[in-house]
Symmetry: C2
Subunit: 316 residues, 2 copies
């Protein structure tokens, strides 16, 4: 058992923001490399309309190539509605992700309906595709802290929305998300603490962060202090917030794995294999997004992790 769980979101949240179509066999290669690096939970893709997100065209082919995943590895897929959920289940995916924005303005912009309507959609989805509660559901709670339209979010309002979602079913897994990467660590710690205090008995919580303002690592540590032990990250820092041009996007898996290893906590992830997977997908996508850890020479990174000093020093 690892001390902290790192959930890799690159194959879905990372790739969906890339304009250039990545061939589906390359996506499958990425997933296999990430599984080989040690991730036991990762996003495989989205079952959305190819018109809305062309990058996810033929997601069934990607899933078919990587299935079955090794025992103990859970592949998740985002679904926007019952049709998507049925497609995902037909493809053999039993862990679904459904996103609801805490901000009315952002939810309208994303899915053109109110937050309450999205909660009703989720209730319908659960009743129709999973009446017996056999699926694993992960609910992405978008814009928990900050919205591109409304700015800093009201904590009370966010908590009351989360309460409605938690009430839908026992045992759901929710990710408190800093969608824009503009949350501050004090806010993250406060909201995470209140979520765990109020709903920790009937639901589990992870944290999903972006590095737009450079606060991602501080926010992760703030969530840790509140008691969160599961973190969404994206290989090579792929992804990003479409509302903040030039921003660095999803916090990079490499940075978070390196952080925890330096803190002496186990993640179960092989940092070398993760860096190689990132190199492959950066080359395939032509994207420049990258992690901080990638800017540090491999020799340097591993010397610090193992404590083994090469006699001549590590300058690069």
């Amino acid at each position: 058992m690892a001390d902290v769980e790192i959930v890799e979101v690159g194959p879905r949240d990372g790739l969906q923001n890339i304009q250039k179509f990545i061939p589906n066999n390359v996506k499958a290669d990425l997933i296999r490399r990430l599984v080989d690096a040690g991730f036991t939970r990762l996003e495989l893709g989205s079952f959305v309309s190819p018109k809305a997100i062309p990058q996810m065209t033929g997601i069934e082919d990607v899933i078919a190539e990587v299935m079955p995943l090794p025992e103990g590895v859970r592949g998740m897929a985002l679904v926007p509605n019952t049709i998507g959920a049925e497609r995902a289940m037909k493809a053999g995916v039993t862990s679904l992700i459904f996103v609801i924005s805490m901000s009315e303005a952002h939810n309208q912009s994303n899915v053109r309906r109110s937050v309450d309507a999205s909660i009703e959609d989720l209730r319908t989805l659960l009743e129709q595709v999973d009446p017996a509660g056999r699926l694993t559901m992960r609910i992405g709670l978008a814009t928990c802290f900050h919205c591109p339209f409304d700015g800093v979010m009201d904590e009370k309002q966010v908590l009351s929305t989360i309460e409605k979602i938690v009430a839908l079913r026992e045992g759901m897994d929710l990710t408190i998300s800093d969608t824009t990467g503009m949350a501050t660590p004090d806010h993250v710690k406060r909201l995470a603490t209140r979520c765990l205090d109020a709903f920790g008995g009937s639901a589990t919580f992870g944290f999903h962060g972006h590095d737009t303002a450079g606060f991602a690592i501080a926010n992760i540590l703030a969530a840790m202090e509140a008691g969160i032990r599961s973190f969404d990250t994206s290989v090579a820092g792929l992804g990003g917030c479409p509302f903040a041009p030039g921003a660095t996007g999803n916090v990079a898996s490499e940075d978070v794995v390196y952080l925890f290893q330096r803190l002496g906590l186990t993640t179960g992830i092989d940092l070398g294999k993760l860096i190689d997977a990132g190199t492959m997908i950066l080359e395939a996508s032509g994207v420049r997004h990258a992690s901080h850890a990638r800017a540090i020479s491999r020799k340097r990174l591993f010397a610090d992790l193992t404590g083994q000093r090469p006699a001549e020093g590590v300058m690069g």
Copy 2:
């Protein structure tokens, strides 16, 4: 009085790593803009050999252009030895910076002498140029956490070196420095706490961080938790660690000012003027280093700080 002090190091620590010579009148313009933005303590340059650091050629001209600084603003200059200190004082600078590395290997690489020899140099400098204790001395404690040669530093050894330095004179100001940007927040909090506990009665302490591993903001907050209230930052993230190619270098003043403003703490700095100063020097230097805050649109940044929402939302 501001809640936290931000010490701007761009005109010295930032510029000294830039290959292209920045005209001295541009350096003076940068200093004037930074003073206008509200910094009350900032590095003006180094009195070093122009052969060692060509960027500092003619530093006397820069100082002459900006002197006298407005009342209440302290301009500091780095000096490597007594000759440098005498040059600085002749130019009218009364706040000196002297750097000693906590790592033997790094100190040898920097100044080709042992740590103890550097401490003796400082003692000589103080006795020769300031027997009456009229100067303000800031001692940069380099590689407090991590060294490019020796990796993670031994805390006991670092504390014993700091003890020797503190003993030289009452009332010195020391900056606990993460020179490589590879320190972890737990380490920063621990060492800062131990420094304040052991030497807080006879010296003051600031924290100097780099963002190589993406931990800079988390490290600043860790230092805050330990009780540190003074932070070195560099406009536009200029500077950097010559030992980590591609690393982001000094933590950007914009990011730190934005962080504290979002946390509701006063810094005395006008973020808009600071961003403008950064734009000027980035254009003049042709350097791509930048802060996270610069990637966020101005409209967005200020909407979040003031809480005033434009009716149409802030997308950019």
